[in-house]
Amino acid sequence: MFREALNEALREEMQRDPKVFCMGVGIGQRGGSYKVTVGLLDEFGPKRVIDAPISEASFTGAGVGAAITGMRPVVEILFVDFSVLVFDQIINQAAKFRFMTGDRGRVPMVLRTQGGAGNGLAAQHSQSLEALYYHIPGLKLAVPSTPCDAKGLLTAAIRDDDPVIFMEHKLLYMSEGPVPEGDYAIEFGKGKIRRQGTDVTLVAWSNMLPRSLAAAEKLAAEGIEVEVIDPRTLVPLDKELIVESSKKTEHLVIVQEAVRRGGVASDIASMAQHEAFGYLDAPVEIIAGKNTPIPFNLNLEQLCVPQEEDIVAGVKRTLGAGG
């Protein structure tokens, strides 16, 4: 299970390296609101599994200070929507310390957070805000979509000497999937082809990845073979994988749960059309969340983020649009 895989990564890294510690609201005694940190307090004690007050900006800043002075903190911000309270410490401090000190200072901190719609938590608890962090030089950005990747990417993030925004999705925590035993780290910037295909390249991350795979199965029944690429990390991004696949299939679709405007999909589309312009048979298609805060009503909530039908329709649209 996804959340158990995260738990394994945390546990194994904390066993391996005494400098690793966790901090967040309700992560210790309660084991985390999404049960990611269950059991860690019992095993590692309150000095390394810290229940913080609701003081996100300052405890994240404390993470920065601890990281600068030799520790490897894993700070949890329970909802990505709250991370905007921490902008200064993430964007002005963590992201820039290495640069501003002429490469002498490092901030080996992981900021774990989660976003996404689908639980009826409404506008301030359902956003997908990866674009905000994608835009800041000095931050790496991981968007795991499977339990295997959750463990491997979190392990890599903890071992990284620079700050990583580790973006989980609330609907993925209980998703199932194989997780290899033991110690493994997935290299950042190496995406994965989740499904081979010949007709269209589809890039999707986080919760849009399983949804896209489901859409791909439906499309296969109609004779359309979709190549589904999971970038795994948005910064760094496996541009080569996306471009090579786009050149092969000559059609590119990008699926993003986040609001369309200013989202990561637009940047990937811009890059891909530039690199593969001569190969593409149709404009790059982006299927994204509507430009709106997320509503509470279930039907409206689903309307606002891409569903399987939207992905299927989008793929067909791009195939119909060109030659």
């Binding site: 007050p53 003081s55 900006a57 920065v64 200070g65 002075t69 030799g70 000190t101 490469d103 002498r104």
Partner: protein, 319 residues
């Protein structure tokens, strides 16, 4: 009883900061320093007194008005001026400037361009020390301006609930940029806020280097015995505006005169003259003058940062 050598060193450091800032203002007017910097003129006793109570393994966190802290913690004057002149030989390879000088070798976690941002970072240094079971103390220099910023009371509370070995050295120079303390706080004694968080706190004459030193020493002992944190509000006054381009027109002349009569250098000199002579003072000052001029020469003759090297360095952000 403080030794003659100790008092000489305190005076030397304060005088060095005074000359450093004064010469840098001149360099700024000559167009050799760009952007802004925030002179520490008039506040020298706080940085010097506080740092004198620290050991090599301790940490400091600085503010936007950070040259004094940096010098008091033993930074290289050459590399500081080179950084202000944005040369490659500067602390940050010319990429940081005044507000981003850090010297990790002397436990200086850096100046900061965001008011108050250093407070949680300093608390984090204390947290790391506590988790490792080591006894490093962190002095967090912060300001009256920072005291009204959200992360300040938040971070103070974290230090309190986790019993962290940190000393918040609140430099109250009576102005948050241009706004006087009376307009932004009902009670201008900011240290009393700490009582609400259960933190030991006090005020001290920020212009008397020995008073700051003694109080910081108390704080260091408290922290080392696991009874931290501590808040020390050092009362002081700027001799100039907020930054090098601010004439400080909002600072009443008579008040400035009052505070200049209690110039930290005058007080520091008096402490030394209990043991030493005015000739020895002169020697200290002349040596410091020479050091600064030599540092300016070093910085002047240093090359600019290379474009190729810079472009290579930022490849890590390519993604």
């Amino acid at each position: 009883m403080a030794s003659k050598e100790f008092l000489a060193d305190l005076y030397r450091q304060m005088y060095t900061i005074r000359v450093f800032e004064t010469r840098c203002i001149k360099l700024y007017r000559q167009g050799k320093i760009r952007g802004y910097f925030h002179p520490y003129l008039g506040e020298e006793a706080i940085a010097v007194g506080a740092c004198a109570a620290l050991r090599k393994q301790d940490f400091i966190v600085s503010t936007h008005r950070g040259h004094g802290h940096c010098i008091a913690r033993g930074a290289s004057i050459k590399r500081m001026i080179a950084e202000l002149l944005s040369k490659d030989s500067g602390y940050c390879k010319g990429r940081g400037g005044s507000m981003h000088i850090a010297d990790l070798d002397t436990g200086n976690l850096g100046a900061n361009g965001i008011v108050g941002a250093g407070v949680p970072i300093g608390v984090g240094a204390g947290l790391g020390s506590s988790i490792r079971g080591e006894d490093q103390v962190t002095v967090i220099f912060c300001s009256d301006g920072a005291a009204n910023n959200g992360v300040f009371p938040e971070a103070m509370n974290l230090a309190a609930i986790w019993n962290l070995p940190v000393i918040l050295m609140l430099e109250n120079n009576h102005y948050a940029v241009s706004t006087p303390i009376e307009q932004v706080a009902r009670n201008p004694d900011l240290y009393v806020r700490s009582a609400g968080y259960g933190i030991e706190a006090c005020k001290v004459d920020g212009n008397d280097v020995m008073a700051v030193y003694e109080k910081t020493k108390e704080g260091v002992e408290l922290c080392k015995s696991g009874k931290g944190p501590m808040v020390i509000e050092a009362k002081t006054y700027r001799h100039a505006g907020h930054h090098v381009n601010d004439p400080g027109a909002y600072m009443p002349e008579d008040k400035l005169k009052e505070w200049k009569a209690r110039d930290p250098l005058i007080i520091g000199r008096k402490h030394f003259l209990d043991h030493g002579t005015t000739d020895e003072i002169k020697a200290i000052e002349e040596a410091a003058d020479r050091e600064i001029e030599s540092a300016i020469k070093f910085a002047d003759e240093s090359p600019e940062p290379g474009v190729k090297e810079f472009l290579k360095a930022i490849e890590i952000y390519e993604g």
